[in-house]
Amino acid sequence: MRFRFFIGVLMLASAGAALAQDVRVTKAGGDKASVDFSGLSVSADGPARVFAQVLRADLLRSGWFTASAPGRGEIRLLGSLGGGSGLEARVEALNTATGRRIFGKSYSVSAAEARRLAHVVADEIVQAATGRPGFAASRLALIGRRGGAKELFVCDADGANLVQVTRDNSISLYPRWSPDRSRIVYTSYVKRFPDVLMIELATGARTRIAGYPGLNAGGALSPDGRFSALVLSRDGNPEIYVKRLADGALTRVTNTPRAAEASPSWSPDGTQLVYVSDVSGRPQLYIVGRDGGAPRRLTLRGSENVAPDWGPGGKIAHATRVGSAFQLSITDPATGETVPLALDAADWEDPSWARNGRHLAAIRRDARGSAVYLVDSMGDAPLPLLTEGDWFSPAWSP
């Protein structure tokens, strides 16, 4: 009852707006629009069924929707799915109160593409209904333990389609995506020393971004893809540098002779970096201009703050030490305000923002092992993505 009223108000308020929103966008994760999926059920096995199941799962995972009983949803999904050896799909989403068609599109793909198409359609429906981007079609890069080695993997945003990218029988660490998603930058011990490499996913071709004497780590690429933010100790101490990839020109950004720096992450506009420094005695977060200058300390609470990720919404997710474990927090660099995420008492680390600026991938570590979880900054319960085996440092693609 209350939801229909709100939908009605929203429709009135947005009448005439070019991008009307049919879902309330609120601060609390609990407020969701109910979706009637009964018009999308497919009984026979095959690509149509895969499509319908994945589409439903993606929409529920998006955080904006719940499933209603048949005939009772605020939004009704209709699908005409079929096709011989491939998949022909026509999908529509209707606002049941007004009858307005939020979304309607037809597709024709091969059978093998059914799953991928469902992710694309889910994101299109999320965008049309909420005005926000979806993350269903994005991918996760992560590190997985394989015997005594750590290798680079990639999987879909729902944890499916896991692909092993490196087979070095060595240690790979800290993947970061290129802005166009074609390459991953990571730290590798394949030469027995820590180097920063870039691998092109389509071909497997690798180039070395940094292989100086001493430590080479970090490597996060700037939003325009032209620069890499690195941790190098070539001058005698671990410091932050920015390297221009086209010609290798190196700019030193920090200068702390008795302190260590780590984990540089770019601001969405590419003008600043957030990073970890122990110059105060324990690791905390600092922000500095990408060309250097006077840094400012960002985190004031918690004995340690590490693993920052500056997300598309402008907020910085990071891990904060609470007692003997880490918990996840989100700090707004504009106000300095820090909000801890309410999670269970396990060890939570390595947050990475999804492209919707709402969800995070993170590592939850307990006595059993180290798993990848989907975490919601708006308060929905975390969902496991990969729990078989030990996983580390997830990086969510743009």
């Binding site: 700019t251 002779p257 008795r258």
Partner: protein, 175 residues
């Protein structure tokens, strides 16, 4: 050895000793340098020679068949402890007697803390040992560092009995 040279070596050892023991104690006294007004520099030139560059090329060579004892560190610290200095002096003695050998100092951490930060902390430990060796008269160009962070523990498990064995620097000699 003539007197002036002896004193200059002692003075250098003292200066580097001060730098290596630096300000990384957990009590934090003296470690809090205010960053306001720090400008970028493109060459290191740290005070007390604390930043000793490592050149442009990696040291290479076959592994030499010689083992040294690891140097252990306190939690969150890269300070060389007095109790550990004899181990580093043994390495210095060997390097003086074997002038063609090169040294890689590996830095390691226990499992606590963020893995990315532990790469940098492990590197600080390796660099602290390297600085100490420079102070003992070993040519910096013969020595480089390699940090493994928390990735290569010497002992598996949890708790201080294990952690203290993992907070270490190890010596790898190259032909």
């Amino acid at each position: 050895m003539s007197s002036p040279r002896w004193w200059s070596i002692v003075a250098l050892a003292l200066a580097v000793g001060v730098a290596a023991s630096g300000c990384r104690s957990r009590r934090g006294s003296g470690s809090g340098t205010d960053l306001a007004g720090t400008n970028i520099v493109t060459d290191p030139g740290g005070a007390f020679g604390a930043d000793i560059g490592m050149g442009d090329e990696r040291l290479e060579g076959e592994l030499a068949n010689v083992k040294f004892e690891p140097v252990y560190f306190d939690y969150d610290s890269s300070q060389v402890k007095t109790s550990e200095r004899a181990k580093i002096e043994a390495v210095a003695d060997y390097l003086r007697a074997n002038a063609a050998k090169k040294l890689i100092i590996e830095g390691h951490c226990d499992e606590r803390g963020s893995a990315e930060y532990n790469l940098a902390l492990g590197e600080r430990r390796a660099l602290a040992v390297r600085s100490y060796l420079v102070g003992l008269g070993i040519d910096a160009a013969r020595m480089q560092t390699s940090s493994f962070g928390e990735e290569r523990p010497a002992a598996q498990g949890t708790g201080e009995a294990v952690w203290r064995l993992n907070r270490r620097a190890e010596f790898v000699v190259l032909q």
